[in-house]
């Protein structure tokens, strides 16, 4: 019925969107831990920290899903991307590692009644480094600076560090910083809820301003991407993203937090969908099409067979996880007994 290539592309985009919505919010938690200010800064930090605890490892698996989809379904593209984008990807990896470890160390340290300021700082810095570098790496595919000669990518700093990818990095940060407080408004109450509401609104304005600024930057720095984005059907996603973003601000203004949470997620989904739609039908804009990067048909079919089978186990488990840990985050992990 449907084209396996198209379905594989959708799986890739789905993975990226899911990582942004779930993993991105966890990074956002780290960003707002660093940015927390005002009289309730410690409470804000604690609430973010406790909310991330049970879910961050699961949310992180979406990144592995993206990588595995990429090398299973688009092995040529995977190889080219990982050759060219080595530096930002290594930086992102370092960030992912230190962030995960710092979080776990801090949790463990707290449990044994010991604060770990070093772990806290590392967690914050890594929460900023990772989305920024990943944003750079993702947007580098659309910047048009990567060239293939005889099928081999030409490496160089300019391929991943240019005005367009810098915007990509900053937008990546803004997406994370936007989602975390928007999700938190649903989970806390009172003054803390008001704090997160203000943070979400501020981050929403920042995200709107930055994505708006990306369009003129793209016109000059990534013209092919800009042309595809604004002169064809992908513009629909731009319009939807703007509409969802504005609606979310209004919902936050009127304290309709449950709807606002969905609105914020929708804004991010449309933003990323617009990016993917404008990149389409390429994986490396102007150089490597998704069709050329794709694995042989039997691999795509096998992969697409595994996906629904996996989803059959994954989706109910995920729902059970988020349902169990809904509402006010627990102040700490449950008692583990003392050390033997």
């Amino acid at each position: 019925m449907a084209d396996p290539l198209l379905l594989s592309e959708l799986a890739l985009v789905l993975g990226l969107v899911a990582y942004a919505l779930f993993g991105g919010a966890d990074f956002g938690g780290g960003i707002w831990t660093a940015l927390a200010f005002g009289p309730r800064a410690p409470e804000q930090r604690d609430a973010l920290f406790n909310a991330i605890g049970p879910v961050w490892e699961t949310n992180h698996v979406w990144l592995i899903f993206v990588v595995v989809t990429l090398f299973t379904a688009f092995p040529e593209g995977f190889a080219d991307l990982f050759i060219v984008l080595m530096t930002p990807l290594v930086l992102a990896l370092v960030g992912i590692n230190f962030r995960g470890a710092a979080f776990a160390f801090r949790h463990f340290g707290r449990q044994s009644g010991r604060e770990a300021p070093l772990s806290a700082r590392v967690f914050e810095v890594a929460s900023i480094l990772t989305p920024f570098t990943l944003g750079m790496a993702v947007s580098a595919t659309a910047a048009g600076r990567i060239t293939l000669i005889d099928g081999q990518p030409v490496t160089g700093i300019g391929t991943w560090a240019n005005p367009f990818t810098l915007m990509g990095g900053v937008v990546g940060l803004a997406i994370c910083a936007y989602l975390a407080p928007a999700y938190m408004t649903v989970r806390v109450s009172g003054e803390l809820q008001e704090d997160f509401r203000k943070e979400a609104m501020a981050a929403g304005l920042a995200l709107g301003a930055l994505t708006a600024l990306t369009i003129p930057v793209a016109i000059y720095q990534a013209p092919r991407f800009a042309l595809r984005l604004i002169s064809s059907w992908p513009i629909i996603f731009v319009a939807l993203a703007v509409a969802a973003g504005v609606a979310t601000e209004l919902l936050l203004w009127r304290r309709r937090f449950v709807s606002a949470q969905i609105g914020a997620a929708g804004t991010v989904v449309f933003t990323l969908a617009g990016f993917a739609a404008a990149l389409n039908p390429d994986l490396l804009i102007g150089q490597l099409s998704l069709a050329a990067a794709a694995a042989p048909l039997p691999t795509l079919v096998a992969y697409l067979t595994v996906l629904p089978l996996g989803a059959l186990i994954l989706v109910p488990s995920l729902i059970y996880l988020y349902w169990t840990f809904r509402g006010e985050p627990d102040p700490e992990i449950p008692p583990a007994g003392s050390e033997p």
Binding site: G53, P54, E57, T58, H60, V61, I64, F65, V67, V68, F71, A73, P75, F78, A79, L81, F82, I83, M86, L89, V90, V94, I96, N97, F98, A101, A104, F105, H107, F108, G109, Q111, S112, G113, R114, Q152, T155, A295, P298, T299, A302, Y303, V306, L307, G310, I313, L314, S317, L321, T324, F325, D330, I333, P334, P335, A336, G337, S338, E339, P340
Partner: protein
């Protein structure tokens, strides 16, 4: 250090690091499941306390396992893009399935660790079942990728290009089954022994509480139950390698000259220049018997292969012997313990057997790492046996040494952090808080 060597060193370092944490991630869920199951079945709550006391270190170790696994999935592309462009369509299926298993594992681990206040005791126990199954399956799936590198199937090579791809056949490659059984069960042995060592040390410090004795019994029982399976599956693996990966087999056994009635070489240092093994013990004809149950069977030596296709026995044979030796040490240590347990009717507090157990406790991990070295170094110079050489798989991007140094520092920092936490858990305040709210 050239790019290729740096890439190999980094991949080896990353895998060696990840394997430690991944192993605990497979072994510990089984122990949690048994302990929680015993608590429910017997009504003896101390089993539950034992399990809950593991979750604090477990949380840290699982987290390190998850992030170090992410490093590996990225390194496949960062270091070996040409290998992945070649193999991705064939081993991708294994990684996709592993991804789902890992997802499930992460979800139910979080539910178990953080769910004490939100879930019933029965639900907590039930969470450990998918946790244990998913953890084991993630190993079984991902090992398929390694099996395929050893015995690549499910495609045809047409003018140097992979064609007629059959992903299911690649997934169920011939080496998969024995590697999966041997590798996954090894995780139970390694985890069980490592944790037994911790409790043996506690007993040696004179803290012979019923709690410690119970925990030691459980950990060592799990390790001991799976120990014989290591011998059985190991023999299965070796006889498979003897038939299908003859160069690796020759390197494992430091067997240089093809010969009938080949001796088994134990220990020693193989010298590829002279084709001899210094300081080794040789048992006549035993290698032929092990390879084909026939004392006159002709076992191919390394000289049967072109020089450029030979693995280096210096990197394979010692690790093979270390793996087998570890098995023997663990067998003696656990055998002595259970003998005394049977004779004395309870967990021994004698120093010698406990000290031997402590000594043997890291050897499950050592055996697992050595076995992995054997299969990897034994496949060289190939990354995909017979099709793609390691030199052909590496990235054209320069500066890998810098990346290697970066990750070396990352791993050092993580190791220092983990050791600080596990060795000095900072009792101040924590102990009181923990005992006060024992069961929530």
């Amino acid at each position: 250090m050239d790019n290729l060597l740096a890439a190999r060193a980094l991949m080896g370092l990353s895998l060696a690091f990840h394997i430690l944490y991944a192993t605990i991630g497979i072994g510990l869920p089984l122990l949690l499941m048994i302990a929680e199951g015993l608590a429910l079945k017997t009504g003896d709550d101390s089993w539950h306390v034992i399990a809950r006391r593991w979750i604090r270190p477990a949380g840290v170790l699982f987290a390190i396992g998850a992030v170090s696994g992410t490093i590996l999935s990225f390194e496949l592309g960062l270091l070996w893009p040409e290998f992945m462009a070649f193999s991705g369509p064939l081993i991708g299926l294994a990684f996709s399935m592993e991804g789902f298993a890992f997802f499930t594992e992460a979800i139910f681990l979080a539910l178990y660790i953080y769910g004490e206040r939100r879930l019933s005791r029965r639900a907590l126990f039930l969470c450990t079942i998918p946790l244990t199954v998913a953890a084991a399956l993630s190993a079984v799936f991902v090992i398929s990728a390694n099996g395929w590198m050893n015995t690549p199937t499910g495609f045809r090579l047409v003018d140097g290009v992979v064609a007629e791809v059959r992903p299911l056949e690649a997934f169920a490659n011939p080496a998969w089954l024995h590697e999966a059984v041997h590798g996954t069960l090894a995780a139970y042995v390694a985890t069980g022994f490592a944790m037994s060592g911790f409790y043996a040390a506690t007993l040696l410090r004179g803290q012979a509480t019923p709690y410690t004795k119970k925990a030691l019994t459980l950990c060592l029982a799990v390790a001991t139950v799976f120990l014989p399976f290591m011998l059985i599956s190991g023999d299965w693996a070796a006889s498979f390698v003897a038939r299908h990966q003859k160069a690796k087999f020759a390197a494992m056994e430091a067997h240089f000259q093809s010969s009938a009635g080949a001796p088994l070489v134990i220990g020693g240092w193989p010298d590829p220049e002279t084709g001899t093994v210094a300081y080794a013990i040789k048992i006549p004809k035993l290698l032929s018997v092990l390879a084909d149950k026939d004392p006159d069977f002709v076992v191919k030596g390394l000289n049967a292969f072109p020089a450029e296709d030979r693995p280096d026995p210096r990197l394979v044979h010692p690790f093979f012997d270390l793996m087998v030796g570890s098995f023997l040490l663990m067998s003696v240590a656990s055998g002595w313990f259970w003998w005394l347990r049977w004779r004395q009717g309870e967990v021994t507090v004698e120093r010698k057997p406990l000290f031997l157990l402590l000594l043997a406790s890291p050897f499950g991990m050592i055996a697992l790492e050595s076995g992995w070295m054997v299969t990897e170094f034994g496949r060289q110079p190939w990354v995909v046996q017979g099709y793609l050489r390691t030199t052909q798989g590496v990235t054209p991007h320069g500066g890998i040494f810098l990346v290697f140094t970066t990750f070396l520092l990352v791993y050092l920092a993580l190791t220092v952090g983990i050791l600080r936490l596990l060795l000095y858990p900072g009792q101040k305040g924590g102990a009181g808080k923990g005992s006060e709210v024992h069961h929530g």
